[in-house]
């Protein structure tokens, strides 16, 4: 139905896409697979009218078309569902669907809502056109996005990382819906880097690497290992090792931790657990279930409710109560708490600064001098660069210009250089390529073997199960009992993740 011919797109000297030719057929689910930064989203953004190609052509049913704006794309029957939904929270589902359609001056809400309902029913979606977006769950919002592009007459649906925000159960629902769309002759492009999903739902797979199309293969002929090698361009091993736990020591004891957010809503409800040195404690949960607040409360960045207790067991001194202490006080007490936050550039690092100045963030206050001393930071930065193979023009290049993987290496490297006793990571491999992810898993394992208490907040359940020694599941601010990853299944964890929601409704 659609054909791309020799499409190229450059950002300055960076190659985003080069010379890509690809056919998209109707009644087909095409998975666009590639690591982060391989140009998947850029390629599809050119189809969706967000970027304009530097060279190359796009054909629709054999005729050349030019897509200059999202409106052009929509006119040609292309609809994109972005990773971050483009919905107006305060409007209803129906209002969001017709937004920007310019259907005359007056609105006939009844008629529009009826039409939307019809479209939704035709493809088996369940949607309430009168519901406000802010009242919707993530998966409802996604359904709305799909109905929106269908209502506008899309024949090609592009979904950018649609399962990133869904539970395993919701993802299954989505895949079923995609199958129905396919049966009705729609073409579907699925942008993703999760190989198991690709193998599960797609008919064909196009693999991108460094902006180039390296393969287009039938899903029947693909295996996980083969795809991984195509994505990375070299042989990879997909096994995460898990060494045996040797004499665990209690490092962190959390009792009855409750946190309310700015608006007074309880985001952490009476959470209690222990973290042991020499263990990796995995924390699973839909994002936004209180993971951020949990780690930040331990780091002294979040105000905890009365009755909460966090006790830190220092290897040499006595135990310390962390509640009510500021990060500065915690630091002055000589507590080695390393923290890789979810928002790397917004919280862990200063984007406009280079590696050295970012390393300095942890070390600059070690001496009482008025002037700062960059020497030690320079040395550490150099070590991080060499050991973790950070690719940067120099140690003083602003880290915001580096790729996501390199940014994360800088952050993790700095936190490890801090010689932690407790090491907390939030979504440590989000957005990273396969190799870097394995570098990070390796680092976590080494820290564990060195007797560090590692807390790993993650989203990929396969990884959580393979890496952790114990798993906790957060759902809506409540925490489960510790589970043994060798015994529990993915489905069971998925159920625990949505547990609280089921109870509420």
């Amino acid at each position: 139905m659609f054909e791309l011919k020799n499409l190229s797109k450059y950002f300055g000297s960076v190659i985003a896409n080069e010379d890509i030719s690809l056919k998209i057929n109707e009644g087909e689910i095409l998975a666009l697979l590639g690591e982060n930064g391989s140009g998947k989203t850029t390629l599809m953004n050119m189809l969706a009218g967000l970027y304009f190609p530097d060279s190359g052509q796009i054909f629709h049913k054999g005729e050349e078309i030019v897509i200059k704006s999202p409106k052009d794309a929509s006119d040609h029957g292309i609809g994109m569902i972005h990773q971050h939904f483009k919905l107006v929270d305060l409007l209803t589902a129906a209002e969001n669907v017709i937004l920007g359609l310019n259907k005359g001056f007056l609105l006939d809400r009844e008629k529009i809502e009826q039409e939307i309902k019809e479209v939704a029913d035709m493809y088996g979606f369940n949607i309430d056109p009168k519901k406000k977006v802010y009242n919707m769950t993530v998966s409802e919002k996604q359904t709305l996005e799909i109905v929106k592009v269908l209502y506008r007459g899309a024949n090609l649906l592009i979904l950018d990382e649609p399962t990133a925000v869904l539970t395993p159960q919701e993802a299954k629902q989505l895949f079923k819906a995609l199958q129905r769309l396919k049966e009705r002759g729609k073409a579907i492009v699925l942008i993703t880097h999760k190989m198991n999903e690709v193998l599960e739902v797609s008919d064909n797979i196009a693999v991108l690497r460094k902006g180039r199309l390296v393969a287009r293969i039938d899903t029947k002929d693909a295996t996980e290992l083969k795809l991984a090698e195509l994505m990375v361009g070299e042989k990879v091993s997909l096994n995460i090792k898990r060494s045996k736990v040797k004499d665990p020591v209690l490092r962190l004891e959390i009792r009855n931790l409750s946190v309310k957010n700015l608006y007074g809503r309880t985001v952490l409800d009476d959470v209690s657990f222990d973290a042991y040195g020499g263990e990796i404690l995995g924390i699973a949960g839909i994002s936004g279930s209180g993971q951020k607040e949990l780690l930040e409360a331990i780091a002294g960045l979040e105000h905890a409710q009365k009755g909460s207790e966090i006790t830190y067991y220092h290897p040499k001194h006595n135990e310390v109560k962390l509640i009510g202490k500021s990060p500065l006080q915690i630091k002055r007490l000589g507590i080695s708490l390393s923290f890789v936050p979810e928002d790397r550039l917004g919280m862990g690092l200063v984007g406009s600064m280079g590696m050295v100045d970012n390393v300095l963030l942890r070390t600059y206050d070690e001496t009482p001098n008025f002037y700062k001393n960059r020497k030690r930071a320079k040395k550490i930065a150099k070590e991080i660069k060499d050991e973790l193979a950070v690719s940067t023009p120099s140690e003083d290049t602003a880290v915001q210009t580096l790729s996501g993987g390199n940014v994360q290496k800088v952050l993790v490297g700095r936190e490890i250089a801090n010689n932690p006793i407790v090491f907390m990571t939030a979504y440590a491999v989000r957005g990273l390529d396969i190799n870097t992810s394995y570098v990070i898993y390796d680092i976590l394992n080494k820290q564990k073997e060195a007797g560090v208490a590692v807390i790993y907040v993650g989203e990929d359940l396969d990884v959580l199960l393979a890496l952790s020694d114990k798993i906790l599941v957060l759902s809506n601010g409540s925490i489960s009992k510790p589970l043994d990853p060798k015994k529990v299944t993915k489905e069971e964890i998925g159920l625990l993740m949505t547990n609280q929601m089921v109870k509420e409704s």
């Binding site: 300055g12 304009f52 917004g346 919280m347 200063v350 406009s352 100045d357 206050d365």
Partner: protein, 444 residues
């Protein structure tokens, strides 16, 4: 307004000149009209063609690629950037001259010579160019740490004013007691100036740090309080009842303590001689140098950059954001107060609500255009001062309306901004292959 002044100046010319000018004006008007007519015809044709295509082929979607595209550009060498800056600045300067010559009828050479006379015509005008440049630069330096911290202090004007007010009050009331110990008097003036400036800065800073109030509005409002306060004291201390002017303090003639507390003439006068502003320039240079070292080599400067980069990161790295905010604003407002003291004790020797002369606002432009680079900031201060002094001369010599010349300084600033755009981006012009071929054929 400028039209009337242009007509005025026109009527004053002799007959021959009048005829020449009239021919020139008619020529220009005809040229503009021609260009407009051609442009309109061209546009109409384009629209007609588009409509025609639409009619013949209603289903056809637009197939033209966008003509201009803006592309990021980050591989420029230092000299390329310099060349772009100078080139575009000159372009702006030429436009500036063209407009002035259109309004007043003066020739380019006349405008140039007037501008230079206004700035380099006498030793007094050279000194005043230097002095005003450094005063403006000093305020811009004061804004560097707060802007780096993303604290939008637009209250420099008020901080300068209260610094000046405090200095004047000290000169007025302590001169009799301390005229024999001028060094002590200078120390008290210095402290008074910076403390007053700090007082004007500390409230917005405290409220921002403790309650997260908007510092832009707060600092702006503080300016008006300062202006009214100075007005009040001007009337309270006025020399001639009803004039609202305090006159020159410790005047050379008719005063018991001639020139006591005057920086330029008494303080270190043995070294630098009378009548120049070397001390003032040196003091501002020292402040600028200290600020450079502070921002680049100290832990506190580093903390400022972290807070400006991301407050969340600063919290995460155990930096006391409240403390850094208050401390930094105090430093900034202290420097502003110090500049106020320099203006009163070193330049005006008087008090007026106009003593800051908009420097607190102009300095914002200087800091941003100079991109926090001390050398660039100094150059931009010099350019702006050059043009505003030149404008005064233009107003008197070739009767250019003074407000108009302020408008024209906007052109210069605008072109400096444009040069930043061209340093960061490149504009690509897209021609489709067919059109390219046509062009090639046409040229053959």
């Amino acid at each position: 307004m400028f039209l009337s002044s242009a007509i005025d100046s026109y009527l004053r010319l002799d007959t021959f000149e009048k005829v020449l000018r009239a021919i020139a004006i008619v020529f220009i008007v005809v040229a503009i009209v021609c260009i407009c007519v051609v442009g309109v015809i061209w546009l109409v044709n384009i629209i007609k063609a588009a409509l025609k295509r639409r009619r013949e082929n209603p289903k056809e979607k637009s197939t033209k690629t966008p003509l201009f595209r803006i592309v990021k550009n980050n591989e420029l060498k230092f000299w390329q950037k310099l060349l772009i800056r100078i080139g575009i600045f000159l372009l702006g300067f030429v436009l500036y001259m063209i407009i002035i010559s259109l309004i007043t009828g003066a020739s380019g050479g006349q405008i140039l010579s007037t501008l230079f006379k206004g700035n380099f015509g006498s030793s007094i005008s050279i000194w005043s160019l230097l002095r005003n440049t450094f005063l403006l630069f000093g305020v811009a330096v004061a804004l560097v740490p707060v802007f780096k911290m993303r604290f939008w202090n637009i209250g420099a004007e008020g901080q300068i004013l209260v610094g000046g007010l405090a200095t004047f009050a000290i000169m007025k009331y302590l001169t009799p007691a301390l005229h024999n110990m001028q060094f002590l008097l200078f120390i008290v003036m210095f402290l008074g100036g910076i403390l007053a400036g700090m007082l004007w800065g500390v409230f917005p800073a405290l409220f921002k740090a403790k309650f997260g109030t908007n510092e832009t509005l707060f600092t702006l409002m503080m300016n008006y309080i300062a202006i009214q306060l100075v007005r009040y004291f001007c009337i309270k201390w006025e020399k001639i009842p009803g004039s609202g002017e305090v006159g020159i303090i410790n005047n050379v003639f008719g005063s018991e303590y001639p020139r006591v507390g005057w920086i330029s003439n008494n303080f270190l006068s043995g070294i630098f001689g009378n009548g120049n502003y070397v001390v003032l320039l040196l003091l501002v240079s020292v402040v600028a140098l200290a600020m450079y070292v502070y921002m680049k080599y100290t832990k506190q400067g580093y903390e400022i950059k972290v807070v400006g980069g991301s407050v969340n990161t600063a919290n995460y790295a155990a930096i006391d954001v409240q403390k850094v905010t208050i401390r930094t604003v105090l430093i900034s407002s202290a420097i502003c107060g110090f500049i106020g003291m320099l203006i009163v004790a070193g330049v005006d020797h008087s008090l007026s609500p106009n003593l800051a002369a908009g420097r607190g606002f102009t300095a914002i432009t200087v800091t941003w255009l100079g991109n926090f680079n001390m050398v660039l900031m100094l150059i931009i201060s010099a350019i702006l001062t050059f043009f505003s002094a030149g404008a005064k001369r233009l107003a008197s010599d070739i009767s250019l309306n003074a407000s108009m010349s302020d408008v024209l300084i906007g052109i210069i600033i605008f072109f400096i901004l444009i040069s930043e755009f061209f340093i960061r981006y490149r504009v690509k012009i897209n021609l489709k292959k067919k059109e390219k071929e046509e062009l090639v054929n046409a040229s053959n």
